[in-house]
């Protein structure tokens, strides 16, 4: 019976995918000097350009989770469905207060997923980290909203067009961005992410990496007009993001835990998103939003695959999971393509987004261009490390194991297809570099 509840999600999926075509054109036409175009469906709900992308990403990811979590209990499916509704609401709401409410509410089902279906006792600490970081650093945003009348801001994103002004510009900018900086996460505020990813189950990691991190990106996108109005430079935050992302990508190379490696790679990719969004350029913003969507699919698929490997071998260690190409060749087939997506192999949207961000950074800052280039290099390194260490080598298993059935192939192929074809094609249509 509960599978019927997923029908709205399934039927809305093609609508959202079609809507993203339309949204793409809106996205292209919008100016980046403080005005973001919204398509309002009601007084309180609507979508802007990135919102279309994220909503369709949301639907796709949760579809994948529903298919992948078929062996879990009903409570799991219900909680995942509730989370999908909350996150979808977060993308579609036009009111700032509503956005904050959904933003914080999404934390509860995520904590339940980690606590209820995690494997290890350390999940208690991980959920505490998640809760503390998110609530503490998003509290200033609530203060800014509640005192909006004092600073001249409105209660809808359309009203946030640089009306705010004040002596405490830097502090206000921090109030606006801190919660989303934790959610993305920016280097330095990212400590909760590796813990939460490692302790969460496969589906929990998929939704965390595929959707919840994008809440931070969407938050960045939607509050940037207000931050611009403050006249405050966000170079510090963007520099922290880009150089921290470089260090995190180097950390990825020396990881032994598969999920930790993918978690840190998420931090690295999202730091590129921050750099793109805070660059205040068309190309950078396009690249950032596209990177969010691309990373959502590739990272979600990687976490699902890591969960499959864990279910086969009982370990996430790269030292113990070797030679899987001869043990589960069917899954390693998808594992190869997912790692290619992670490293930004053409013709995927990951590649396109990296090119866009690289191009925008070359215009803005030479050193940042070097950092982005180095991050692109190290993303190749750790993706290759993740693939070669797991697939090559000698396996402890004597023969082939069961590859997981058709549902695994369906989910994995779905992730790869979305990332490579759909968004890549749409991006190719709307990209206008001239």
């Amino acid at each position: 019976m509960f599978e019927l509840l997923t029908l709205p999600a399934i039927f809305s999926h093609p609508i959202c995918m079609g809507a993203s075509l339309v949204g793409g054109y809106f996205f292209e036409l919008s100016e980046f000097s403080g005005e973001h175009l919204w398509v309002l469906s009601s007084v309180f709900t609507g979508l802007d350009g990135p919102g279309f992308f994220m909503l369709s990403l949301n639907k796709c990811i949760f579809l994948g989770i529903i298919f992948s979590g078929s062996s879990e209990s009903r409570a799991y499916s219900i909680i995942v469905f509730i989370l999908s509704l909350i996150v979808g609401g977060c993308f579609q709401v036009h009111s700032v207060v509503g956005f904050y409410v959904f933003f914080e509410t999404s934390l509860l089902p995520m904590m339940v997923l980690i606590l209820g279906w995690g494997y290890q006792p350390e999940r208690l600490g991980a959920s505490k980290y998640l809760l503390a970081y998110t609530v503490f650093f998003s509290f200033p945003f609530l203060i800014y909203i509640l005192t909006g009348s004092v600073f001249g801001g409105g209660l809808s994103f359309s009203d946030w067009r640089g009306n705010a002004s004040g002596v405490w510009g830097g502090l206000l900018a921090w109030f606006l961005l801190s919660g989303f900086a934790v959610k993305i996460p920016v280097f330095g505020l990212h400590l909760w992410l590796p813990k939460a990813h490692v302790e969460a189950s496969s589906g929990g990691s998929m939704v965390l990496a595929g959707v919840l991190l994008k809440l931070g990106g969407i938050g960045f996108w939607r509050v940037m007009p207000e931050v611009e109005g403050l006249g405050v430079s966000v170079d510090l935050l963007s520099s922290l993001a880009i150089w921290g992302g470089l260090s995190v990508s180097i950390i990825c190379v020396v990881q032994c835990d598969l999920k930790l490696l993918i978690a840190y790679s998420s931090v690295s990719h999202m730091s590129l998103v921050v750099w793109g969004l805070l660059s205040l350029s068309l190309l950078g913003s396009q690249g950032g939003v596209l990177m969010m969507a691309a990373h959502g699919f590739s990272s979600s698929g990687l976490f699902y695959q890591a969960g499959l490997i864990y279910s086969k071998s009982g370990s996430r260690s790269l030292l113990l999971n070797q030679g899987l190409l001869s043990v589960i060749p069917g899954l390693i087939f998808y594992w190869f393509f997912l790692n290619c997506l992670s490293m930004g192999t053409p013709p995927s949207s990951n590649f396109l987004s990296e090119i866009e961000i690289l191009t925008s950074s070359s215009v803005l800052s030479g050193s940042a261009w070097g950092a982005v280039l180095a991050m692109a290099f190290f993303s190749v390194v750790y993706s290759m490390v993740a693939y070669t260490m797991t697939s090559q080598g000698r396996s402890s298993s004597q023969g082939r194991m069961e590859s997981g059935g058709s549902s695994c192939s369906l989910v994995l192929g779905f992730h790869i297809l979305c990332s490579v074809l759909l968004i890549g094609l749409f991006s190719g249509v709307k990209l206008n570099l001239g």
Binding site: A75, L115, W117, Q120, S313, Q322, S395, S396, Q398, M401
Partner: protein
Amino acid sequence: MLTKLGPCLSPMWARLLYSGKAGRVRSWHSSGRWLKQDEVVANGPANEATPPPSAVVKSHSSQVEKPFPERTLVEFAEEETSVPVMSLKEEEYRLKVKDSYLVDYKNNQGLVRYMFKKPFETSYLTNRPIQNNILRAVDQIKPQSMQKTTFFKEGINHHYEYRQCVTTTTGGTIRLQYSRQENIEMAQYGVDFFRQAGKLLYTHHAPHQPRVNFHPTGLLALADDSQAELLEQTHGVQISLGVRAELMSPAQLSKRFPYINTQGVAVASHGHECAGRVDPFALLSNLKMKCEDLGVTFVHGDVHNFVHEMLNDQKFVDEEGRSLKTGKAVTDRESEIERVHNRVTEAHIHLPDGDVWPLAAGRFILCGGHQNGHLGRLCGFGLGKEELVADLPVEPRKRYYFKLSAPQGPGLNCPLVVDNTGVFFRREGYGGVYYVSRPPGCLENEPSTQNLDVDMDYFHEWVLPPLVDRVPAFKDAKASGLNCQGYICILNLNCSFLPTILQVMDCYGTFEDVNFHDENPVIGPHPYHTNVLLGVGGSGMGIQLAPAIGRALCEYLTEHECKTLSLENFDFQRLLFHKPMFEAIHLS
């Protein structure tokens, strides 16, 4: 006691003696049990397997031993059995283990099971889950000054001082005089480890430099006429591998060790280097401290169950021999692969507070000493058909160690002396104190393993006579007082065949993990239980070989093969293919 010794002294039983034990070679039968020697000879056809070298028999009998009878090659019968697969063993298994512990955990996953569970604390398998959980919740909100609730489970004695552990109660003998190349190489690595233990086991937190008290006193092995040829052969192997040992004639022996009665001795092998004794408890405690320093977490408890996929209904077959999961015939290769690759997923540990903690892991290494056979059965070894019938042939065997005071004894010039009868003794300290022991010699003479009580009749009738015969100085051994530590010690002060009343300073019993297949360790992964590694069956050589076995297991974990030493011959397959790896020179 004499009646027990009678059969061993009889020539008829002499053919069953092998390296000091009764015919320990056993064969697998498709019915899933170890056959005794007579059954093997009676049932199977002659095989092509080469018989083992003639035994170094340490018994009273000086007769020439008959060649070891040919053993059968195991043929896994393909006969159709009317009994469903795994039903008998599974039933026996379930009778031994309470059904409450065999819950299907897959159906219990989710919120209720894992909600807010702290490590080392909660589980749903307690006898009083609700009450205990309430008490635990109350404990968490109690202030530090108030006493916490303590949970006890009746019947569980948690001796975490390692009193019954093989490691701490063994003699700690170190030697290089083995007959197998693999054993010699492993022993050489072990000696290197013990020599550098102060450096390898150093931690910043330790108050002093770690010491394992390695005393290289040397080893002297005596052989009579029937054993001389074998001793010379093994000596050649040892010399080729760099062992510093020399063969001595009785005259040379008498000159170097005047206290030894050389009557009946044909040749002796004296190991100068890397033979002696190490303090096993010091080794254990320093090793544990180093492991904790490196980040290892030790969980104190008793392993009382494993969860493995063999308990999963999907592994069973129906009456027609088809897998319940795939519907294919069991003989089909695809379903065989699926059935064969069993995986242990959890270990359930009984904690001191009476709770049971399910510990999930990707790899399990069995090194539980004399309880390895039991642990293997818990892992699912032996639950299956054909190749899966074999379980670990490791069982506890009780051995006695006796401490004598002999001021007129051998003195400082006393290596570890191993007599041709099997009795061996070594010097303890510098005060004329000696430890002596002797293996039972035959299966029927094996002491009961119900407890660790020491039987002094065993000493007076089995150990003392050959000891006094070989070293007459022990005849006047006296005791400094009744200071028996350990367990119940029965003193027999009326030994009619001894002119002197003898008292023993100290005595204790210990369990030894004996691989009764070939009395050599089993090292490496299990071929079918793919995530279980074995380091079992030390058979009296555990301390000596432990560093090498540990390194081999690490290499199996990370590189899936043994790189530094070629220990493939010690793997589990030799038990299935009936290729025993016998060690000619045994001390126990």
